[in-house]
């Protein structure tokens, strides 16, 4: 089952900064469908964002620096485990394996890092729409 429109709208609202809309849509999501569809969409978006940011110049030092910067931005983000965050980023474009990381922990870390990557990218509305469209396309491939 591909990514649903509701799932797509939920993530789009959040990344566009429409937080109230996001919370409402999130509450209305079917939790069974979200188990696959929404998690695939978030992971696909995260992978594309990491690929754009680090794949060409992603030495470990840059990843460490980015994660620390994310954690330093607020008390909420400081709760992210730095090693987990570094590993999930490295897993996208290196041979880093993250099978030992709990799926929920991995998802939560990816979601926070995705927000930071989008914030740093400074996409305008068309660019953000294009990015999300690509993420949905990739997620649909995964779910097919």
């Amino acid at each position: 089952m591909p990514v649903s429109d509701e799932q797509f709208a939920t993530l789009s609202a959040q990344l566009a900064g429409r937080f109230d809309e996001h919370k409402r849509l999130l509450d209305e999501l079917d939790p069974i469908a979200a188990r696959t569809g929404y998690s695939a969409l978030v992971s696909a978006a995260f992978s594309i964002a990491v690929d754009r940011r680090f794949a060409k110049n992603g030495d470990v030092g840059r990843v460490v620096e980015f994660v620390s910067d994310v954690r330093a931005r607020s008390e909420a983000t400081a709760q992210i485990d730095p090693r987990t965050a570094e590993r999930v980023i490295l897993a996208v474009y290196t041979d880093e394996q993250i099978d030992d990381i709990d799926p929920r922990t991995s998802f939560e870390t990816q979601l926070v890092l995705l927000a930071a990557l989008i914030a740093d990218a400074g996409y305008d509305t068309p660019a953000l729409d294009e990015f999300l469209a690509e993420a949905r396309q990739v997620a649909d491939q995964w779910l097919s």
């Binding site: 509450d27 188990r35 931005r73 983000t77």
Partner: protein, 438 residues
């Protein structure tokens, strides 16, 4: 040109007395053997003294010795008959056996060997050493039993001092002792080394006692006592009691003190190997100048030792990489094609790595809502609040959770983390240099 071989009883070596390269073939034959061939008449017959010996030598190398007829044919040609065979005498073919039969021990005397080789008229005037009765094996054994080898007690006293006594640590040297000094060294508990001059309560061995003769103990038993007498064994013994600098650098936690580095042991009982003496001689509270001076000394010492700089390739070191390591080479055409195909499946690769379905996805998303909002908000939040540092922190006893750190782990930690200091220094130097160039 005649050639004589001299034999030395001291070294057992055999050396040529002359530098000529005369070979066996060129050796002057015994007069008798030469005369036996004087009646040869055919032109085809070669000089007996040269070709005959060569032919015999060649055939002796083969598995099967030729018959007399074959030898004759080889020597005189296929048409040769036995009528021209020289008369070697009935005893020729069994000459050796005849010689052996005349001696009870199966070995010819010196004169007999000489005569068999050079003829009955050969004498010993040509550099044969006068071995005399002392060259016999019995005489040699007798000399080895004399005073120049110490007894076991003498060796012990010379090593550990006159007060040293025999105890269970003395290795049992039974008749089957085969000179395995490593077995002796393994059973010893004495101090590390001797060349530092620290040998026990008394450093000077009693010279007079070492000269005494002990005919009661056999040579085999005495050969294993005392300090090693062979070069290889001595090297092994010292190696077991004193680690080289390279080994201590890799395993400083396991290194033994060398006696050179330790304080004089006159007031301390020497410890057994494996239990370094206590370092209570170190200054417990050196002043600033003292340790700074020591630090400068270390720096100067290390600075002069250029071959040990980190990263320098010293002759004999293993190369940094295997010759088969081609990771630095550009990709081949096949690898480039594979990379292109990898691009098409990257989303699939992402999926395999980062995507995993799980329950409570919406709950997880809600839990991170605040963090995500903090990151995406415009303007961003102020960050972490400022916290004041206490002016007088209280002291709490060490945490019971931590537990002791064993010396080996500690050393390993220091060595590993010590590299951090080096790496940081190198990074900073690079930063300073690149900043200077910009």
């Amino acid at each position: 040109m005649s050639e004589r071989y001299s034999q030395s009883t001291e070294t057992g070596s055999i050396t040529t007395s002359e530098t000529s390269t005369t070979t066996l073939n060129e050796r002057e034959p015994a007069p008798d053997s030469a005369d036996r061939h004087q009646d040869t008449s055919t032109a085809e017959r070669r000089d007996y003294g040269q070709d005959h010996d060569a032919a015999i030598e060649a055939r002796l190398d083969e598995a099967d010795l030729p018959t007399r007829a074959e030898s004759r044919a080889a020597t005189w040609g296929p048409d040769a008959t036995d009528e021209d065979d020289p008369d070697f005498g009935d005893e020729y073919d069994s000459d050796l056996q005849a010689l052996l039969a005349t001696h009870d021990d199966g070995l010819p005397s010196r004169a007999e060997s000489r005569a068999a080789t050079w003829g009955p008229d050969a004498t010993d005037e040509d550099n044969e050493p006068a071995l005399g009765p002392e060259s016999g094996d019995a005489a040699i054994e007798a000399r080895l039993d004399e005073a120049d080898l110490p007894t076991r007690a003498e060796s012990r006293a010379a090593t550990w001092g006159p007060a040293a006594t025999s105890d269970e640590t003395d290795a049992e040297l039974a008749g089957e002792y085969d000179g395995d000094l490593s077995a002796v060294a393994a059973g010893r508990d004495g101090p590390a080394e001797q060349d530092s001059g620290v040998t026990g309560p008394s450093a000077d061995p009693p010279a007079s006692e070492s000269a005494s003769v002990n005919s009661e103990q056999s040579f085999e038993a005495r050969r294993g006592t005392g300090p090693p007498t062979t070069v290889n064994a001595e090297t092994q013994w010292h190696a077991e009691h004193e680690l080289p600098v390279a080994a201590t650098q890799d395993q400083p936690g396991a290194a033994l003190h060398t006696q050179k580095d330790s304080a004089p042991a006159s007031d301390h009982e020497l410890e057994r190997p494996g239990q370094p003496e206590k370092r209570d001689d170190l200054p417990a509270s050196g002043d600033l100048a003292l340790w700074r001076a020591m630090y400068q000394e270390f720096r100067e010492t290390q600075a002069s030792d250029t071959g040990r700089e980190s990263g320098s390739n010293v002759v004999g070191d293993k190369p940094d990489r295997s010759p088969g390591d081609i990771s630095d080479l550009p990709p081949t055409g096949e690898q480039l094609l594979e990379a292109e195909s990898d691009e098409a499946t990257r989303p699939e690769k992402f999926r395999n790595k980062v995507y995993r379905a799980f329950d409570d996805v919406t709950d997880a998303a809600k839990d991170q809502g605040e963090a995500v909002q903090n990151l995406l908000e415009r303007p961003p939040p102020a960050g972490h609040p400022e916290v004041a540092v206490p002016s007088r922190p209280e002291i709490v006893p060490a945490s019971s959770q931590q537990g002791p750190i064993d010396a080996g782990t500690m050393v390993e930690t220091f060595l590993v983390v010590g590299v951090l200091g080096y790496e940081i220094a190198r990074w900073l130097r690079h930063k300073v240099n690149s900043h200077g160039r910009s």
